[in-house]
């Protein structure tokens, strides 16, 4: 199964051709997902989630996970 990848808000606009799915081969962490899916280095202050839970870039990722990257939250 592939890993699903999502980018939100300003981050989505900064990345020219984001991948929405990547192969899990060779992917161990959230940081690896970024490197495989985005065409720019990971910016400071980027937030991330695995399967809808907040996480850090060092957290591990497995086949079938949904990984999302987003800028600081500004709702409310």
């Amino acid at each position: 199964m592939p890993i699903t990848v999502k980018f939100f808000a300003s981050l989505r606009e900064q990345i020219k051709s984001p991948a929405s799915q990547i192969d899990s081969a060779g992917i161990a962490t959230v940081a690896d997902v970024w490197a495989a899916a985005a065409d720019i280095p990971i910016p400071d202050h980027v937030l991330c989630s695995v399967n809808l839970d907040h996480c850090t870039a060092a957290d591990s990722v497995k086949d079938g996970d949904e990984v999302a990257f987003f800028p600081p939250i500004t709702g409310g």
Binding site: K6, F8, L52, F70, P71, I73, T74, G75, G76
Partner: protein, 146 residues
């Protein structure tokens, strides 16, 4: 449902009235509400519209967890969070948080907790369309509840 995300305008006072009718009269001693509305200016610049993007599945899950956490921290009868998404204009309500409890300290503290946690944990992002026609993402995060 204690958590609602809406892509159309909503009337906070009307929703509060509806929700109150589901509560047992005589058990509630205190209610605290917070309503956030869209202003026509921000950081010194006129704003003509605001678009709220979110991460739907995570938003719902995170808001439900915030309510669960509030119930664990205070003695509450009920809690409500309503959040608008999509494009809105000045004066439109953006967010409603509400708490019903027996005593006032629980209501005040938990209502504020809902807002502060929402602002730091729930995946919403604001983009402003400015009066001069340009647009900008709101990039400033706000401090959590302490």
């Amino acid at each position: 449902m204690p958590v609602t995300v809406l892509d159309t305008p909503f009337d906070p006072l009307q929703l509060l009235k509806q929700h109150e009718q589901t509560l047992e009269a005589g058990s509630v001693g205190a209610a605290a509400h917070f309503i956030g509305t869209m202003r026509n200016h921000n950081e010194g610049v006129g704003v003509s519209s605001l678009t709220l993007e979110h991460y739907p599945a995570m938003t719902t899950k995170e808001l439900a967890k915030i309510i669960e956490d509030a119930h664990a921290k205070w003695n509450l009868i009920d809690a409500l969070i309503v959040h608008r998404v999509g494009t809105m204009t000045p004066g439109d309500p953006i967010v409603l948080t509400a708490i019903w409890s027996a005593h006032r300290a629980d209501a005040f503290e938990a209502c504020r907790y809902l807002m502060e946690e929402l602002k730091s944990r729930a995946p919403f992002w604001k983009k402003e369309t400015l009066a001069d026609g340009g647009d900008r993402w709101v990039e400033k995060n706000t401090a959590g509840y302490t």
